[in-house]
């Protein structure tokens, strides 16, 4: 897992400015949550980190080197929905990453390599609590289980950073709490660098080791799209997070 540097990044669509002058240094192993009102550009920022969108100006470095401007195995991602392949079983969904890596032509593994890959995938499914669901299709899994599957799938390729785009936004509160424990557990075990967007402030402060708030500082009432969002708050919460990990039983309210 690796350090990410954002240098004077701008994103514009024609005259519409979405992000202006974003600079950020994130150390390896940080859990960064990004919050802001809807339409403030947090998803755009994540998409730029992902390589799906290109910044208009500025640069993006991963361990000092520019990030490739298309998605790749160095960055894993979990979206709010459509994160898993509906035509593959859970096990196939997790295995497919290794198959892409090992078999450029057929994208399938056979024999011993397949058995080994299968075992790694089964271990990963067990780690996210889906040991019994390997042969099910995503449509047979609940929303929470689908997100667990998406996380397992993303982690098997050992991405250097993990991007979560409102991953728990569509889940029920109870299931969401389970997912919080799962992601914190994986984050501390695997030493992940995580960026997560959320519109849930409580969730952001509970999960994040660092909370970034995006907002439009300058406003022109006649032309609301003239100015983009900036980082208005950058709150390190390291102490609170450590305390929380030591008292895993404590609820979100205590953690704040």
């Amino acid at each position: 897992m690796s350090a990410v540097q954002v240098r004077k990044l701008w994103k514009e669509y024609g005259r519409q400015v979405v992000l202006e002058n974003i600079s950020l240094d994130v150390a390896s192993g940080e859990f960064v949550t990004i919050i802001g009102a809807s339409g403030c550009g947090k998803t755009t920022f994540l998409r730029i980190l992902l390589g799906e969108e290109r910044p208009s100006r500025g640069e993006l470095l991963l361990d000092g080197k520019p990030l490739p401007d298309e998605p790749g195995p160095d960055r894993g991602v979990v979206f709010q929905k459509y994160s898993v392949f509906p035509h593959m079983t859970a096990l196939q969904n997790v295995m497919v990453g290794e198959e892409f890596a090992a078999a450029p032509l057929t994208a399938r593994l056979f024999g011993k390599a397949r058995r080994e890959s299968r075992q790694r995938a089964l271990d990963m499914l067990a780690a996210v609590g889906l040991a019994a669901s390997g042969n099910k299709y995503p449509s047979e899994l609940s929303g929470g289980m689908q997100q667990r599957l998406a996380i397992a799938q993303a982690l098997l390729r050992r991405p250097r950073i993990l991007l979560l785009d409102e991953p728990f936004g569509a889940l029920d509160p109870g299931i969401r709490a389970d997912m919080h424990e799962l992601i914190l557990d994986l984050w501390s075990k695997l030493k992940l660098t995580i960026f997560m967007t959320s519109h849930d402030i409580k969730e952001s402060f509970y999960l994040g080791g660092r909370v970034i708030v995006l907002d439009r500082v300058r406003k022109d009432p006649h032309e609301p799209e003239l100015y983009g969002a900036r980082i208005t708050y950058d709150l390190p919460l390291r102490r609170g997070r450590d305390a929380r990990l030591n008292h895993a039983a404590a609820g979100p309210d205590l953690a704040l």
Binding site: L50, P73, F79, K81, Y82, P86, S139
Partner: protein, 273 residues
């Protein structure tokens, strides 16, 4: 009294309701046929069911004395061969063109206008060209079917590929997939069920073009036969042939639907989630 839109027949009653129009049609036909035959026993327009059964029996069992062939089966084999080859070629072209134009922007920009224009040309209008260029044998009939249905299948597949959630393609890329691997493991499996659906819709047109081509130039085939006996007003042959063609069309449609259900259990289940 509930609103009309909330009244639903239960299963058995639903089937009975569905059968009702057929029974009414049959009864109307039989009555009309009987009344015409009562006036003139040699009337050919509305033959009785008995006459039709006899004709069908003759067509399906009696061997031609010179060649030893049974007409119905020779016609069926000839027509199905043309139809299936034409449909198979169309599916292949439709899948390849649809996937590539749907997925790769450069190819889409290059070929999309061409496919659009090609699909606007009424296929029957080019039939004379096909006959002149390719002769009146099998090839021109198959090419007519391909010309008639491949563009629409390609457009349907292309649309399906464009509708794939961007998230799925991004996710695959973050798992390291190349364009080729993306096509192989994500796009093809997701579009093949749609290809089968598109083919089902195109089968109606495929039959149309087949029968049109056979009517104009052929020596055997279902379409050839009904247009041949039309000259003698042989309704007792034409009507059973039409029923037989309908049955074949239904069987093909059913087969494709079955393949879709068995081979792609995830398709239609919760859509792409």
């Amino acid at each position: 009294m509930k609103r009309l839109i909330n009244l639903k027949p239960d299963r058995g009653f639903g089937i009975a309701l569905g059968a009702l129009p057929f029974l009414i049609l049959l009864a109307v036909y039989m009555a009309a046929s009987a009344s015409r035959l009562a006036e003139n026993a040699d009337d050919k327009l509305l033959p009785s069911l008995t006459t039709m059964t006899q004709s069908l029996d003759r067509l399906a069992t009696e061997e031609n004395r010179r060649t030893g062939e049974v007409l119905l089966w020779v016609d069926t084999a000839a027509s199905l061969k043309r139809l299936l080859i034409g449909v198979a070629i169309s599916m292949t072209i439709g899948l390849v063109v649809g996937v590539i134009t749907g997925l790769i922007p450069y190819v889409r920009k290059t070929f999309s206008p061409l496919v659009k224009v090609l699909s606007m040309i009424p296929p029957l209008a080019v039939l004379p060209i096909l006959f002149i260029a390719l002769g009146v044998d099998e090839v021109s009939k198959i090419v007519l079917i391909v010309f008639g249905i491949a563009p629409s299948i390609a457009r349907d597949v292309q649309q399906r590929v464009e509708e794939l959630p961007a998230e799925l393609l991004i996710k695959a890329q973050t798992l390291g997939a190349s364009t080729w691997q993306l096509i192989l493991r994500i796009v093809l499996p997701q579009t093949v069920p749609r290809l089968l659906d598109a083919t089902r819709l195109a089968l109606g047109s495929a039959w149309l073009f087949l029968i049109a081509a056979e009517a104009i130039a052929a020596t055997e085939g279902l379409g050839y036969r009904i247009f041949l006996v039309r000259r003698f007003l042989d309704m007792d042959v034409i009507l059973p042939y039409v029923a037989w063609i309908t049955l074949l069309a239904f069987a093909l449609d059913f087969t494709l639907r079955l393949v879709n259900r068995v081979a792609f259990p995830w398709y239609g289940a919760g859509a792409a989630r």
